[in-house]
């Protein structure tokens, strides 16, 4: 045997091993998890559109008739309306979020923490609560009527396209705000200074600086668009009564019809998911070949624009008024309604203030469930879902923020945004379609109507938006930080712990809290997948709100909101007690304050 032969033989036997070592197992594991969490259940459901017989839904193994049916008449109109609504929501939310983010992050406005906190509160209030809060404000006989304001015009306007766009825009506003805020915080004032030094006026400075946060702006638009496309809360509350059909409502109608029209619902679901592709490609096209990494160990603290005292008060009041309008009023509506026990806030004999609704929440009528155990169940769910989501979302965010963009990154990007647009109800029914298959329940595992399946479903619905929200902060950390740690002998974990974790700590904590609170208020998946006898709080509240006992539902909503805020306070306190002071000072990438 010659040396050459030996080398060639040994290298040929080693090659597969070496190739095997080069395979990125972590990536495979991530996709495997996503496969079972999102891809297979959703694809299974969407498959019904073209092959209804596979799922005993018709006579054809292959047909396009459902696609034709979905694009006709009412459902077709719903799809067009949804595209229009989502585009408007994207534009409105990004515009307002950019202005607010600039005011809060880059000026000396009073109460910066308060405004960021208000955005968080807005983020954790689900759209169905907002809508019901507004109904408690502007319906005849409700709060505004008690104040002597004639609201019938607004009431009719609310139950139409304007109401839907308004509620969805307020819901998308915090998503955009946080994404854009991160961009502005990471920017440093040196870019503005540089522009001004080179003679740029205010407008030119803005035009120079804004493109630097283009990823944040486009990302905010894409998230807002996808969130608006998939929102179930508005479809559930406003959609049915408005004269403006939207796709999620027609999908809801198709699924809850007698008998259910799963094939047409599947077509609508596919359209919702595919509609997110254009914004992602727009984003990719704009960002192609550019780097937006601006956050590093040398990032300087931002220099805030100093308003004159009068302007400072004026801007603060204007922002306060705006936040009161989008957040305070609907909350006030829900709160005032919860302190009465009558069909409307004002009755023929005046307003009857009482705590009866709060008592009824915990000592309900025979046919209703008390809120205590469901709220505890929701909290337990929240812990599991938030923790699982955080791990997976961080891994995905790192892949998305990779410095070596490739096809995989693009696929992940499109996949995540497409997943945001999946309505919860589709995930829920998709989970039944797949996990309740006889071969799985009999030979692998019988998960349907157990808590683990509900947890999986809730993680599947949270991961896409959380991963995209974390992509901003993760993408802004320059790789040189961990590279330096590695060069100095740190292990991978130590490099992460000593460089990325301190910078990201607050973003991670807030991502956990957001998922936790969203889990508590989630309705669409919970209603389909909850384990019998263990109803989550949202299901119980929805039961109340759909009846004449809406005041009890409002009281339950208020209690749940207060509990959510309490958990946020406790977790932030723990974060303050446990983490080194340095973390709190620098760990602000992506944090809202």
């Amino acid at each position: 045997m010659t040396v050459d032969t030996f080398l060639s033989e040994t290298s040929s036997t080693r090659q597969p091993l070496a190739r095997l070592r080069r395979v990125r197992w972590s990536g495979l594991v991530v996709w495997l998890v996503l496969l079972f969490l999102i891809i297979i259940p959703v694809v299974t459901f969407v498959l019904v559109a073209i092959s209804p017989r596979l799922f005993r839904q018709g006579t054809s193994y292959f047909t396009f008739s459902n696609i034709t049916a979905a694009f006709q008449g009412y459902t077709g109109q719903g799809i067009l309306d949804s595209l229009l609504v989502a585009t408007l929501v994207g534009v409105f939310s990004v515009t307002f979020a950019t202005i607010i983010a600039w005011i809060v992050q880059r000026t000396n406005i009073y109460g910066r923490r308060l405004w960021s906190g208000a955005m968080w509160l807005l983020l954790l209030v689900p759209t169905w609560m907002t809508t019901l809060g507004w109904i408690d404000v502007i319906s005849p006989g409700e709060l505004m009527s008690a104040l002597g304001v004639h609201t019938l015009f607004f009431f009719h306007m609310f139950f139409g396209a304007s109401g839907i766009v308004f509620v969805l825009s307020t819901a998308a506003l915090p998503f955009s705000y946080f994404v854009i805020s991160v961009g502005m915080r990471g920017l440093g004032s040196e870019f503005e200074d540089a522009a001004r030094v080179h003679g740029a006026g205010r407008l030119l400075t803005v035009r120079t600086v804004l493109p630097i946060i283009a990823p944040a702006l486009l990302s905010a638009f894409a998230i807002s668009f996808a969130e608006a496309m998939s929102d179930f809360g508005v479809a559930f509350t406003l959609g049915s009564s408005s004269h403006f059909p939207i796709a999620t409502y027609t999908l809801f109608n198709a699924i809850y019809a007698f008998p259910a029209n799963f094939p047409v619902a599947a077509v609508i679901a596919a359209v919702l998911i595919l509609s997110t592709v254009p914004p992602v490609f727009l984003q990719a096209r704009v960002m192609r070949g550019r780097s937006y990494a601006v956050l590093s160990g040398r990032t300087k603290a931002v220099k805030r624009y100093q308003f004159s005292p009068v302007a400072r008060v004026g801007v603060t009041l204007a922002l306060g008024l705006f936040m009161f309008f989008v957040l305070g009023l609907p909350l006030l509506g829900a709160v005032t309604s919860s302190f009465t026990n009558t069909a409307s806030f004002i009755t023929t004999s005046g307003i009857h203030w009482t705590l009866q609704s709060y008592k009824d929440v915990f000592q309900p009528l025979p046919s209703f469930t008390t809120l205590g155990p469901p709220l505890w169940t929701s909290n337990q769910l929240g812990i599991w879902v938030a923790t699982g989501t955080l791990v997976l979302a961080y891994v995905l965010a790192r892949r998305m923020a990779s410095r070596t963009p490739g096809v995989g990154q693009r696929i992940t990007d499109v996949f995540l945004l497409g997943s945001i647009a999946i309505p919860g109800i589709v995930l829920g029914v998709g989970y039944i379609f797949f996990y309740d298959q006889r071969f799985i329940t009999s030979h692998i595992v019988d998960l349907y109507e157990t808590m683990p399946l509900l947890i999986m479903g809730l993680i599947a619905s949270s991961v896409p938006s959380q991963a995209r929200l974390l992509t901003g902060p993760v993408g802004q950390i320059q790789s040189s930080l961990s590279e330096a740690a590695r060069v100095h002998g740190a292990s991978k974990w130590r490099a992460f712990r000593s460089t990325s974790l301190p910078l990201l700590s607050r973003a991670l904590v807030w991502a956990w809290l957001l998922t936790f609170t969203k889990t508590i208020s989630e309705l669409a998946i919970a209603q389909i997948l909850y384990q019998p006898g263990k109803e989550p709080a949202s299901v119980v509240i929805e039961t109340y709100l759909g009846t004449i006992f809406a005041a009890i539902g409002s009281a339950a909503t208020v209690i749940t909101l207060v509990e959510m805020v309490g958990v946020i306070a406790v977790v932030l306190l723990i974060f303050r007690l446990v983490t080194p002071k340095g973390w709190r000072r620098i760990g602000e990438a992506g944090a809202p304050s």
Partner: protein, 382 residues
């Protein structure tokens, strides 16, 4: 130095406290991850009841207490989500539900047509009264357990003072403009039977008839014309009983009268400890539409479980079961007319004959539900 030591100690204590708190919460949440479904009790076989009735839990508790050999587990929800779950489970091929209990017969007829229900579930001991009998399907694939009517005219006696209330269904089209409301059939389970009942009545199709397609189409056309006339007269459509009643009970009332389910009106009028709607009244027109509550058994249950499930059906179609239903939700769903001989309705209810209830054939009208609801959504709601 001393300050640094104190700070370190405080930080350590805080971390310890957090660790203890975190561990406690984590351990208490561990039970969540058990894959044991609600129905998997090792000691006794269990049957899952998909229940949309307010009294379901109470009735099941009473039944389980006297039937130790197996256990009924309740999954409470509205009719819509439960019906969707049943169909999705059937599509997947591994149904979990064992019993389904809800208002209306059309969804049961749909399940029966798909072969999902056990035939002849009504026990020989089932002693139906005259009101119950017309609602028993010929193949006995589901059992009527109670009767309410939909299409009764609920109204506020103060708001309608001076208004001549209609006394016939047709008269609603000439009632004072904008005063009448009803529910959205896409959202409210009892509303499609009302619309179908109106169409059937206008077309002269009774529950025992097997009408031709032409007869059904003619009835549908007449019904559509009726609802278009109501819309022209300012009909308001709210999602469900709750918002419709709320619109009548609010101040100022945005609705003076509505054709909805009788039990919902009585529930508010006779609520305890004090009435929610003291000025509310119910008027029966020339006809209303019978809305039976029904129970059905999954055809895919094992023979042993099927026999157990049928014991529960026998219970709720017995006098004892009917009383348990009434007592289980006395001011809500319990306000029904019993379908079993020897059981009286709650004292608030008038005689069933007063309602002039018109029964529909669910096998004729069930398959038309999507078509008619879509028409209603397109032409009346929107």
């Amino acid at each position: 130095m001393k300050l640094t030591t104190m700070k370190t100690k405080r930080a350590t204590k805080a971390r310890l406290l957090t660790a203890v708190l975190g561990s406690t919460v984590a351990v208490s949440s561990l039970s969540m991850m058990s894959v044991g479904a609600a129905t998997s009790h090792a000691s006794v076989p269990t049957i899952l009841l998909y229940n949309a009735q307010g009294y379901g839990d109470k009735v099941v508790a009473a039944f389980n207490a006297t039937n130790p050999g197996f256990k009924i587990v309740v999954d409470d929800d509205s009719t819509g989500p439960l019906f969707t779950k049943i169909q999705a489970e059937m599509a997947a091929g591994s149904p979990k539900w064992g019993l389904f209990w809800a208002d209306g017969a059309t969804e049961f007829a749909a399940l029966d047509k798909l072969g999902y229900l056990v035939k002849n579930v009504i026990p020989s001991t089932g002693n139906y009264n005259a009101a119950g009998l017309p609602n028993v399907p010929t193949d006995k694939s589901f059992a009527p357990t109670g009767l309410t009517v939909t299409g009764a005219l609920c109204y506020d006696s103060v708001a309608t003072k001076g208004v001549m209330l209609p006394s016939t269904m047709a008269g609603l089209t000439s009632a004072p403009k904008g005063l009448l409301g009803m529910n959205n059939p896409s959202q409210s389970g009892p509303t499609y039977p009302l619309i179908a009942g109106v169409m059937a009545h206008l077309g002269g199709i009774t529950s025992t008839m097997t009408p031709t397609t032409a007869q059904v189409n003619a009835a549908i056309k007449k019904g559509e014309a009726f609802y278009l006339a109501l819309k022209k007269n300012g009909l308001q459509v709210h999602n469900t009983n709750g918002p419709t009643l709320g619109a009548m009970e609010s101040n100022p009332a945005t609705l003076d009268m509505a054709t909805i389910q009788s039990s919902a009106c009585y529930g508010d009028i006779h609520a305890q400890p004090k009435p929610l709607w003291a000025t509310g009244k119910v008027k029966y027109l020339d006809y209303s539409v019978a809305l039976p509550s029904n129970i059905g058994v999954d055809a895919k249950l094992s023979p042993a479980l099927r026999a157990d499930a049928e014991k529960f059906v026998a219970y709720v179609t017995s006098a004892k079961g009917q009383l348990a239903m009434q007592h289980g939700d006395p001011y809500g769903d319990g306000l029904f007319w019993p379908v079993i001989k020897g059981v009286n309705p709650e004292k608030f209810l008038p005689s069933y004959s007063v309602t002039h209830a018109y029964a529909i054939n669910p096998y004729v009208w069930g398959p038309l539900e999507n078509q008619i609801n879509t028409w209603f959504t397109n032409n009346i709601v929107n």
